[in-house]
Symmetry: C2
Subunit: 351 residues, 2 copies
C-alpha cells in the first residue's frame, strides 16, 4: 500500500472497450473504441475520433506507478466527461451508464485502498438517474457520481433536477460536477483548445451559482457536492452576487442563503495551476472546502498537484491533501485506516 | 473645485432627451425619452420602458453634489451601455452616436475639471466607427470611447475590429470596455437581475481574453484599454490560460504574449465590492493597472468606492485613486493641476 496520504479527487477513466449498442433506435450516438498507437486507443463518436486516450485511462497498474511518482495515496476515478452522453434517451443513457459504472467498480475493486469511484447517471431522465444512482451506490459500491455542469444546456441548479439531488443527499453520495459543453464558446477567438482553457471556468462557475440561486443547495443542506477547476470563475462571482443579493429585494427573497455562506457549503478542487489563486480560493471558500485535484491523465493536467500545497500552513495543507476529500467522499474525515476498515471490511489490497 | 483627487472611471450618463429618428428606414429600434416620476425619465425602446433613470444621469449639479459626498474629484462619463445600440445600421448608428457624443461633450464642457468624457462609436461598421472616433476626440474633445464587450455577439478581440483599435492607439484614445448582452444567460436560474450579477463578469472576462488570444493587444502595444467590473472573471482565467499556453504548442504559437504579461498591459476598474478580491486583482494585474470605479448612478453601484481602498498601502492607494486613471485617460500620470492646464488651458470651472 502507498505510504502517501494525498487524495486526488479529479482523475478520469475511460473503459478499454465499449459494448455494441443494443437498444432499438437507429443512428444513436454511442461510443466505441478502436486500437491506436501503442498503449493508446481512439474513442470514436459519430464515426470519427473524439479523443485518443492512453492506457492510463483503464490500467490500474500504470495509474499506480504514476501515483507513486506524484506522491498520491488515492485517486478518485470519474468518467471522461464526454462519456456522460446526456444526448441519449433515458433508457439508452442508463444502459451506457450501467456499463461505465460496472467498469469503474471493477477498477476500484482491484485496489480499493488506492481508488474510489464516481459513476455516471442519465440525468437527462431524472427517474432513470435516481434508479441508476441507487445501483451504483448500493450494488457497485461507488462513492458517488460525476455530473456535467449542464444537461443538454440546462444548468444543474434547475428545479427539474432537485429530486435527483435529494436522493444523492439521502444516500450520502459524493457529487463531483465537471465542466461539459461550456457556455461562452461564441466569445472565444483562437484555437479550439480555448474551450478548455477559457470556457470551462465560466461554465463551472455558473453551474455552481445555479445551485445557490435555484435553491437546490438550500433544499439539500447535507448534500456533499464538489466542483472541478477550483469552482471555475465562482470565486470572482461571489462578491458581486453577494452585493446584488444585499441590494435587490428580488434577489434577497429568491435566494435563501447568504451567497458567501452558500459557497462555503460546497467543495472545489485545487486545479488552478497557481499558488496565489489557491490562496484566494482558500480565503473565499474556506480551508475545509478545497480538495486536491489534477485532471489526470489528460494533457492539461497539473503534473505535480501536491507541490502546489507546499506554501500552505500544515493544518490547511493536510486538510486539502486528504481530510477534506475523505469528508466529501464518505461524510467523515476519520483517518484513512479507520475509514477503510469501515468502508471495505474485506479490503484485500496488496501491502 | 473639488478638494478630492479621486477619479471614478466607471460612471454612466443618459441624455435628458433623444432626437427623433431622421433616417430613411422603417421600424428602427431608436431610443426615446418620456417623463417619469419626479426627477426621473423613462428610456423607451420598442415602445416599452427599457429603464427608468434619474436626473443624476444628465444633471451635472446633482452629480457634483454626489461626488462631494463620495469624496470624488472627477467622474469619467460614459453612456449607459444599452445606448451603444450596435443593432443599428452603420449610418443610423453613427447618427445616434453623434448625438450622444455631443451630449457628453456638453456635460464635460460645463465642468471640465470635474468630468472627462468617453463617447460611443458604431463599431458594427468599423469604417463609420473610426470616422466617429476622430470626431469625438478631435472635434468634441472627449478622452476616448466606451465599447461593449461584444458587437452583436462578436467579441471585441475579433480581427475585424483591429483597424478600429489601431486608430484608437494612434490617436491615444482611452478605451473602456463594458459588459453588454452577456453570454451565459442560458445558464442562469433565478430572477432577471442575475444578468448583471452573474453573467456580466464572465462576459467581460472573455472579452478581455479575446484581446489577448485574438492578437489585438500584441498588435497595438500602446493601446490604453480598460475593462469594467474588475475585468470580470479574467483574474481567475489567467492562470489556467497561462498553463494551457505553456502546455499546448498550438496556443504557444497562436498567442504572442505570455498571458500574464498581456493582462498587465490592460486596465481594470475596482468594481468588485470586496477588499480581498481587490487584493487578488492587485496581485494578478499589478498596482498600476487598477482604476477606481463605482457604476454610478445605477442601482448596483458601489456607494463608497474610495473606502474600498482604505486597507491598501499609500503608494498603491494613491495610484488606484487617481494616478492610474490619469495615465489611462491621457497617457501621462502627471499631477492633476499640470495635466489640467495642459488639457484644458481655458478651464473655467467654478472653484
Amino acid at each position: 500500500m502507498s505510504t502517501y496520504d494525498a487524495i486526488d479527487v479529479h482523475t478520469h477513466v475511460v473503459p478499454r472497450d465499449f459494448p455494441p449498442y443494443r437498444g432499438l433506435r437507429a443512428g444513436v450516438r454511442w461510443p466505441s473504441m478502436v486500437e491506436g498507437q501503442p498503449c493508446h486507443r481512439h474513442v470514436m463518436l459519430d464515426g470519427a475520433v473524439y479523443r485518443t486516450v492512453s492506457h492510463q485511462c483503464w490500467d490500474t497498474e500504470v495509474r499506480s506507478a504514476d501515483m507513486e511518482r506524484m506522491g498520491l495515496g488515492m485517486q478518485v476515478l470519474s468518467p471522461m466527461p464526454e462519456l456522460l452522453s446526456y444526448w441519449l434517451e433515458g433508457d439508452d443513457g442508463q444502459a451506457l451508464a450501467r456499463y461505465i459504472n460496472e467498469s469503474i467498480a471493477t477498477l476500484v475493486q482491484a485496489a480499493p485502498r488506492r481508488f474510489a469511484g464516481l459513476g455516471t447517471v442519465p440525468l437527462q431522465d431524472v427517474e432513470c438517474a435516481i434508479e441508476e444512482l441507487d445501483i451504483l451506490l448500493h450494488q457497485f459500491g461507488l462513492a458517488g457520481v460525476e455530473l456535467g455542469s449542464n444537461v443538454q444546456g440546462v444548468p444543474i441548479g434547475d428545479a427539474r433536477f432537485l429530486p435527483f439531488f435529494q436522493a444523492a443527499e439521502r444516500w450520502g453520495a459524493a457529487v463531483f460536477v465537471h465542466a461539459l459543453r461550456p457556455c461562452g464558446m461564441e466569445r472565444l477567438v483562437g484555437p479550439p483548445v480555448l474551450e478548455q482553457a477559457l470556457a470551462f471556468p465560466g461554465e463551472v462557475g455558473l453551474a455552481a451559482a445555479s445551485m445557490i440561486t435555484g435553491g437546490t443547495l438550500a433544499a439539500c443542506p447535507d448534500l456533499r457536492i464538489a466542483f472541478s477547476h477550483g469552482g471555475g470563475t465562482l470565486g470572482l462571482l461571489v462578491p458581486r452576487l453577494r452585493h446584488a443579493w444585499k441590494s435587490f429585494p428580488m434577489l434577497t427573497q429568491a435566494i435563501a442563503l447568504d451567497p458567501l455562506d452558500a459557497v462555503r457549503r460546497m467543495y472545489y478542487d485545487t486545479l488552478v495551476y497557481d499558488e496565489a489563486t489557491l490562496g484566494y480560493l482558500l480565503a473565499t471558500f474556506g480551508a475545509e472546502r478545497l480538495l486536491l485535484g489534477s485532471d489526470y491523465p489528460f494533457a492539461i493536467m497539473d503534473a505535480d498537484p501536491v507541490a502546489r500545497l507546499t506554501a500552505l500552513p500544515e493544518p490547511v495543507r493536510e486538510a486539502v491533501r486528504h481530510h477534506n476529500a475523505r469528508r466529501w467522499l464518505y461524510g467523515t474525515s476519520m483517518p484513512a485506516a479507520a475509514t477503510h476498515s469501515l468502508q471495505n471490511p474485506q479490503d484485500g489490497d496488496a501491502p
